[in-house]
């Protein structure tokens, strides 16, 4: 029998090892798998590479891993936010390696990893510092740069519902990087609000098919970034 549902957040992240490359879903607070991230902070794996759009705020989510000195390298499009003091400080002190990637290139590099694409050419970033050192090639009279896939050992993703096979349904703009990250990681770990019976999800509405998901954990009342940040401010 196929059952990808694990009992606890602790079990969900138990094998995330030192030096792992971890894709982290979410865009700002939407879709951020805060409960999984805090479980990983608790577990204490070190020298991680985090691939995510943002770098967390306050001491919440990715920022908690950064503050704990668990991250050696971060790949993201927009690390700076209101209250992103942890990454600000680490970067200024030269204690973290940052690779800045245009947001669409980041999404496509992740998708390419999941889709078995060895690399792709994009017009994005041509003529900018982010294209320096990359192979250029002209297609149809327009210059493009070569971008390579970003594989991961693990993906941490938040969705709304899953069944025991790992089919996923998302809610609103929570989806963002989740589907391509589930495809790209060797082990995709997903926190959902509800685990439903097999057959209960309408197959027409499944967004991430079960084959891309390895582990599901139910978190009926997920942590709220807004509430955690408000509490930090008190």
């Amino acid at each position: 029998m196929m059952n990808k549902v694990v009992d606890s957040l602790e079990d969900a992240v138990a094998d995330i090892h030192d030096g792992a490359v971890v894709h982290v879903g979410g865009f700002g607070m939407a879709g951020s798998p805060i409960d999984l991230l805090h479980a990983l902070a608790e577990r204490g794996a070190r020298d991680l590479t985090i691939v995510s759009n943002n770098a967390g705020v306050g001491r919440v989510g990715i920022a908690r891993l950064l503050a704990g000195g668990q991250v050696g390298r971060i790949v993201c499009s927009f690390p700076r936010q209101d209250n992103s003091t942890v990454i600000d400080d680490l970067h200024r002190e030269g204690r973290i390696e940052l690779e800045l990637v245009p947001q669409g290139t980041l999404a496509e590099r992740i998708r390419a990893a999941g889709a078995g694409i060895g690399g792709f050419y994009t017009p994005t970033s041509v003529g900018t510092p982010l294209a320096e050192g990359k192979e250029h090639r002209v297609f149809d009279g327009r210059e493009h740069v070569l971008e390579l896939p970003i594989h991961a050992d693990f993906a941490l993703v938040k969705a709304e519902k899953a069944d025991r096979w790992g089919n996923l349904v998302y809610r609103k703009a929570q989806r963002n990087f989740g589907p391509p990250m589930c495809m790209a990681a060797t082990t995709a770990v997903v926190q959902v609000r509800t685990v439903v019976e097999l057959g209960e999800l309408d197959p027409e509405t499944v967004v991430t098919p079960s084959i891309f998901v390895d582990r599901v954990v139910a978190v009926p009342n997920p942590l709220s970034e807004r509430e955690l940040i408000a509490r930090e401010g008190e």
Binding site: S77, G104, L106, A107, E225
Partner: protein, 224 residues
Amino acid sequence: MTGRLGRDRIAWRVGRDIPDGSFVNLGIGMPELVANHLPEGREIVFQSENGILGMGPRPEPGEEDEELVNAGKKLVTLLPGGSFFHHADSFAMIRGGHIDICVLGAFQVSRTGDLANWTTGMDALPGVGGAMDLVAGSKRVFVMTTHTTRNGDPKIVEECVLPLTGKGCVSTVYSDLAVVDFGPDGPVVREKLEDLDFDELQDRTGTPLRLANDWKPLEVPILD
């Protein structure tokens, strides 16, 4: 010279140039104001690069949902007809030429339409977001900005000295003084404040401008 436009009045002017039926991406900051100043009777669909088409205004108190934010990470709503999609599809829309217009801010625009708007080069921690994808793929790129920096330096320049976001990508600059189109002949002033001499506008610009033969006064109502 009087009547330099404020942010809302620039947004109003940008809104006049967005046709009915357009799919539009608004950048973070000043461009977000455009959504408040659209002409009556036009149906315009806003795309947010984090996976939303048909983005609506900020939610009423009590209606906030942490899973529904815009590109600036602010809480928003979804309008009837709206849809959600993942990031790779979102940037297929953007890079693939499906967005009619994006509206962005600028540090500098060169006479050939190069845009610099993501880093001053001095930032402790730079962030690029989706700007490079938006300027690479949108059918038209509108820039909304003050004509000069706080120090009075021109933002429309011969060549950008700041790191570029994209080359030759800007269609039109909407400033607090003028509307300037960018094409093969360099920057052409389509509209300027009526009581602003062309020479004075030229003085505030770092590269030669041409005044269109059919130029019009830049007329924007006083807004609340």
